[in-house]
Subunit: 268 residues, 2 copies
C-alpha cells in the first residue's frame, strides 16, 4: 500500500478524501519537548489499534517516524499532528476495494505552559457508545465539538462528559483520574472515550508507585467521594482538578508527584 | 460571513480544515434528473437545521443555489455533493471565534438505474444516540462506514442498523418504511439516524394518499409483522425490500405506487 503524504499547512487535501467526507480516519497529536517527540511508541500503538478497528492499512513505523521527525525538525517545543485517512473514494460509505491512504502532517511551535490546575463543569452533552470506536482516536469528533460549545457558556476550564448510559468518561480533550486513598481509578473506555497516551503513562507510573490502579465504571456520585481528581492529555500533561461543579478539591499531591516522576515539569 | 468555495475534484482543501480534523460540518447529496436538481428546498432545509444544531453560519440560499447550478450545468443525470465545514481552525475542539466556512461542491454524471428491490440484513454494528446529532447530515459517519464493512461479508444489498438502545433506525444510507394495512410507519429519528429528503417526500405523499402516516419507535420484531417494507434515499428513490434476514417480503404495491406518484420512474 502506498500512502499519499500531505506535508504542512500549504499542502492540499483532495476534496473527495474520505477523511473529510465521512470522518473515515484517525489522528494523533504528539508533543515536542526539547526537540524530542514524546511517547511516539504509544502514539503508534494507538494509531495501529485504530487501523485494525477501521480496517485501514497500517503505515510502516520506520518511514512514518522519519517523516514525522522531518516535519518536527527545528521545533523545540510544540507538537506534530498526524491525520491518517482512507484516502480518496467515490461517493458512498462502502470503503473502496483499493485506496491510497492519506497522511497529513502538521507541526507547530508553542511555548504555552499549561496550567497546573483546572476547574471542571459537567456537561449535558453526552458521548455515544460503540465498542469498535471506543479508545481509538478517530476523526468523528462532533460530540467533543458540541461539548466545547456548551463549555464556552460555563465558568470552567474543561467539561466532564458522560456516556449515553451515564458512565463518567472524561474531559472533552482529557482523560480523568480519581484518587481514593491508595486507589487510583480511571474510567473504563471500552464503550466510549479516547485511550490517551498520557493516561497510559500515568497508569504505568501508578503501578510502579505501588498504587492499586484500576479502570472502572465510574458514576458522577462516585467522584464526590474522591480525595483528589486530575486530568491528563499528551500536550498538557497532568492537571489537578481544583473544582468539579460545586465541589472544590484541594488535594493535588499525587498529580504533582506524577508530574515529577514523568518529568513533565522539565522546562524544555 | 464569507464562505470559501472549493469547486470540483481539482479544488484543494486546507489540511487544517475542521471538516477533516473533527468531522465538523455537514453534507448533502442532491440528485440531478433531466438536468434539474431534485428537492433542492428539502436539502436546504436539512442543511439549515444542521447549521442551527452545530452553530455553523448558514449560507444564503440564493447564492448557494447559483453555485450548485453552475457546478451541475451540462450534467443531465447524476448528482451534486455539497460539503459545508466550519473552515480552517487551530488545534483543539473549541470552534474558533471567527472562521471562514468551507463549501465543497462536486458533481458527477451517473446513468446507473437503481434496482427496484433490495435484500436487507440486520447488522450488529449500531448507531450511537445523540439528540443534537440526530436527523442532520453531519460529517461523522464512521458508524455507517463500519456498517458497510460488516455488510460486505453478508449476502445482502443493504444493512439494517439499530440504535444502541435497540430501536430500528434504517439502512446504512437509506431510510426505512413499514406498511401495516393502511398504516405507513417510519422510525422516529429524534435520537439517531438521518432525516432523508426522500423520506420527507414519502411522508408527505403518504398523507396525500390518505394513509395513516406515523413515526414510531420500531423494534426488529415489529418488522416481522409488516405487510411491506421499503427503503428510500435521495439518489436511489424508493426500493422495495424483498427480504429482511430470513423473512421474505413479496408485497411491493405501495412502493410502486409511491414511485409513480413521485415520478421517480421517469427516465430522465
Amino acid at each position: 500500500v502506498r500512502f499519499r503524504y500531505v506535508i504542512g499547512p500549504d499542502g492540499s487535501v483532495d476534496p473527495r478524501d474520505r477523511g473529510l467526507a465521512y470522518g473515515d480516519g484517525l489522528f494523533e497529536t504528539m508533543a515536542l519537548r526539547g526537540g524530542e517527540l514524546q511517547r511516539l511508541g504509544f502514539h503508534f500503538d494507538r494509531l495501529e489499534l485504530g487501523c485494525a478497528r477501521l480496517a485501514l492499512p497500517r503505515p510502516a513505523r520506520r518511514e512514518l517516524k522519519q517523516r514525522i521527525e522531518s516535519v518536527a525538525s527545528g521545533i523545540s517545543r510544540g507538537y506534530v499532528k498526524l491525520i491518517l485517512t482512507r484516502g480518496v473514494g467515490r461517493r458512498g460509505y462502502a470503503p473502496p476495494q483499493r485506496s491510497e491512504p492519506t497522511i497529513v502532517l502538521l507541526a507547530e511551535a508553542s511555548m504555552a505552559v499549561p496550567a497546573a490546575e483546572i476547574s471542571v463543569a459537567t456537561l449535558s452533552q453526552r458521548l455515544g457508545e460503540n465498542e469498535k470506536l471506543a479508545e481509538i482516536k478517530h476523526l468523528c469528533r462532533l460530540e467533543q465539538v458540541l461539548g466545547r460549545l456548551e463549555l464556552s457558556g460555563l465558568d470552567a476550564d474543561e467539561g466532564l462528559m458522560l456516556s449515553t448510559s451515564g458512565a463518567v468518561i472524561g474531559g472533552t480533550s482529557r482523560n480523568l483520574f480519581a484518587v481514593f486513598g491508595r486507589r487510583l481509578v480511571t474510567p473504563d473506555l471500552s464503550r466510549a472515550g479516547i485511550g490517551g497516551v498520557m493516561r497510559r503513562s500515568v497508569l504505568e507510573e501508578g503501578e510502579r508507585l505501588g498504587l492499586d490502579v484500576t479502570t472502572a465504571d465510574l458514576r458522577l456520585a462516585d467522584l464526590e467521594a474522591a480525595d483528589e481528581l486530575f486530568m491528563t492529555n499528551a500536550l498538557v500533561g497532568i492537571q489537578s482538578v481544583s473544582r468539579l461543579d460545586d465541589r472544590p478539591f484541594t488535594a493535588n499531591a499525587l498529580a504533582a508527584h506524577l508530574r515529577d516522576a514523568l518529568r513533565l515539569n522539565d522546562d524544555v
